[in-house]
């Protein structure tokens, strides 16, 4: 299919029609898995390395949100980089498409097959390779679960530089491949900064060893940056080297109730000002989100009812100093009527309980019904406007409309629910959400990525020329397009298969 280059507006109008994802996607002419292929995989990976029975495959074919179901006939579970290399070389030669999969906790359907792509799971690649106690550099295989890595580091006085609700299941390779954000990005920055090295395997089996754990290395182009956030479309990440900061000695969490979103923004401004270098997280949630976690997970609101809640966390090396700063901050927000009420604690069990209120919203939403999940970056001042507009727009059709997210990063998680999938509701949401975001010059996917949900929406946030460059890179690294096809890059860029 040929598209004439045209202005951004015209394109976005054209793609607005396609913004309802994965409708009308046809299978590209890849090869189909044959018994001889399974035989070859078994020889490379051993008997436990290949799963083909239907009972086993389900978990790998369906995403966490249960919105996307693929039809893979085989799941491959390598344990070494060398096995990944041999598998990919074979698949590339045979023109068999592959979906790299870690913890399968992604929220845009990027980790499950669209058709019958083979799932390449990193779950058995869970060895920790090294830890440098002086620099904090941790090197491990891609299949290590985030929470396990953090537990390992806890014993050694360090902490992972990212944290997200899926920590008990997500794997570091997947985190890096999706440039995962999370609740500590405010403090530790993005993975583009904290990842020191990446080892990845290209579609043709070439192993790119850029795994060095050095803090500074300006020798040529920084190729690891290509893989970070590439959503498995440029290579399969097999090992990661990451910079881990010292574990904070004291963590305090305050949870406040605010009467308006403007006051929530004031909380953030005051927090940055008063807490400065010890601020480690700033999140918000609305009354609806609180209602969802109370109803579905029996979590208790520590305060009385407010339209908005803000969570501010500090992490520092001196408990007394931090507590004092936190108390001054809280006295100020209370006395200036920025917060109507709040609670604060440095006790570990209470800190965890307060975080649950924010981290388990996603879980509560999934129990509530079919979830329509959006993740946008917009100027902080406008962060809640979109939620209000959606509420009005979908009134009567949506069961629940809620907004919450990483206040400090300008990242809104907008979620709607309904009982069973409702195309009418979906049509009211998309493309309005994307167009509105584009008008604010925001990002239609702040941290969740594009996956199979939003590839065609890329033009709302990126120019034609930029996407062309992405396409050129994809062609260079994966000319047959076997790595995670139908994802990330828009439809008009999917490689035309000619054999």
């Amino acid at each position: 299919v040929m598209f004439v280059r045209s202005g951004f507006r015209a394109l976005s109008a054209r793609f607005a029609r396609l913004a309802s994802t994965t409708t009308g996607v046809s299978r590209l002419p890849f090869a189909v898995l044959q018994p001889k292929d399974v035989q070859v995989f078994s020889e490379i990976l051993g008997p436990r390395g290949v799963l083909t029975s239907l009972d086993d495959l389900d978990a790998y074919n369906v995403d966490w949100l249960r919105l996307y179901k693929g039809n893979s006939a085989a799941v491959l579970r390598p344990t070494t980089t060398e096995q990944v290399s041999r598998v990919l070389r074979y698949c590339n030669d045979r023109n068999l498409p592959v979906v790299p999969q870690g913890g399968n906790t992604g929220l845009v359907g990027g980790s499950v097959p669209v058709f019958d792509e083979i799932v390449l799971s990193t779950s058995l690649m869970n060895r920790l390779l090294s830890f440098d106690a002086s620099s904090g550099a941790l090197t491990c295989q891609a299949g290590c679960i985030l929470q396990n890595l953090d537990s390992y580091l806890e014993d050694r006085g360090h902490v992972m530089p990212l944290d997200l609700g899926a920590k008990g299941s997500c794997q570091i390779g997947g985190n890096v491949a999706t440039n995962a954000g999370g609740i500590r990005l405010l403090r530790y920055g993005s993975l583009h900064g904290s990842v020191l090295g990446v080892e990845a395997v290209l579609a043709d089996g070439t192993v790119i060893d850029s795994l060095s754990p050095l803090r500074k290395d300006n020798t040529g182009y920084d190729v690891k940056q290509l893989f970070i956030g590439s959503e498995g479309t440029l290579g399969v990440i097999t090992a990661v080297s990451i910079l881990t900061p010292p574990r904070p000695q004291s963590i305090n969490v305050s949870f406040m109730g605010c009467d308006s979103f403007d006051k929530v923004i004031s909380v953030y401004r005051e927090a940055r000002h008063a807490l400065g270098e010890i601020l480690s997280a700033c999140e918000f949630m609305d009354a609806e989100a609180m209602r969802l976690v109370s109803t579905h997970l029996s979590l208790h609101n520590p305060l009385s009812d407010f339209p908005f809640y803000a969570l501010v966390e500090t992490s520092g090396s001196n408990p007394d100093h931090d507590q004092q700063k936190m108390e001054l901050f809280l006295e100020h927000v209370l006395n200036s009527d920025i917060a109507g009420d709040g609670t604060v604690s440095g006790e570990l069990s209470k800190v965890q309980a307060l975080w649950c209120l924010r981290e388990r919203i996603t879980e509560a939403l999934r129990i509530d019904g079919t979830v329509y999940k959006y993740d946008v970056s917009i100027p902080v001042d406008k962060l809640y406007e979109l939620v209000e507009q959606m509420r009005v727009r979908t009134s009567g059709l949506a069961k629940s409309v809620t907004g919450y997210g990483h206040l400090g990063d300008g990242n809104l998680h907008l979620n709607l629910t309904s009982d069973g999938f409702d195309p009418g509701l979906k049509a009211l949401i998309e493309p309005f959400v994307y167009e509105w975001t584009a008008q604010q010059k925001g990002s239609i996917s702040a941290e969740h990525g594009l996956g199979q949900m939003k590839p065609d929406c890329i033009y709302y946030s990126k120019s034609v020329e930029t996407v062309q460059l992405m396409h050129n890179i994809k062609e260079l690294l994966d000319p047959n397009g076997i790595l995670n096809p139908y994802k990330t890059l828009p439809r008009d860029r999917w490689t035309d298969q000619t054999l």
Partner: protein, 258 residues
Amino acid sequence: RIIAMAVRVLVGCKRVIDYAVKIRVKPDRTGVETQNVKHSMNPFDEIAIEEAIRLKEKKVAEEIVAVSCGPEKCQETLRTALAMGADRAVHVQVDQQQYESLQPLAVAKLLSKVVEKEKINLVVLGKQAIDDDCNQTGQMTAALLGWPQATFASKITLVDDKLEVVREIDGGLETIQVNMPAVVTADLRLNEPRYATLPNIMKAKKKPMEKLTPSDLGVDITPHYDVISVEDPPQREAGTKVDSVDDLVAKLKDKGVL
């Protein structure tokens, strides 16, 4: 008719290692690592305070005195109790070294003396501390005072100057009636403790905290037993995965289960 008595409550608060913390046994096996480890109020004591506050909110209790025995850091725990709603705090100072061997009988003696001093007629304690799991202080305090005890309470009601307490026991629930003054120990389902909210946290700083020593109270806190060693429970062995039902049956037979 019976005149409703003014109920003056004493609540015990122990500072223990936070239940969310991974416990580590000291290499010399004399105890667990407590240095630089996060502590918080014993969860059952939080439940006790919450119950006392609810009695006060129902205008049944007139005043709540929170007591803690131990070193300086206990004052943090007492501040939390005050922030939740206790009126006054009493810190019975015991230095760090003596604190390590402070045992329930000594604590019961200290609490009894404070009870007499403060003219308390209702003592509410957590049923046990999560560090030693002794489950003795409440019972011993009642015995020393010669008061009735209602332990493992999951519901407390004051009816005509008597306490009706629903107790959690092995067979289910038992409802008893005890005369006042009495000692009650709180079990898990008694209530869900509130979070201390900011205005109260601020107010708590101004509430009175009295400091006493065991000798002020005329109590000898010498320990009566020694802890010989503290060890980790045996490591769980890894399980084995089986590939088929036949395999499972064979393995169960090997282990002599079938």
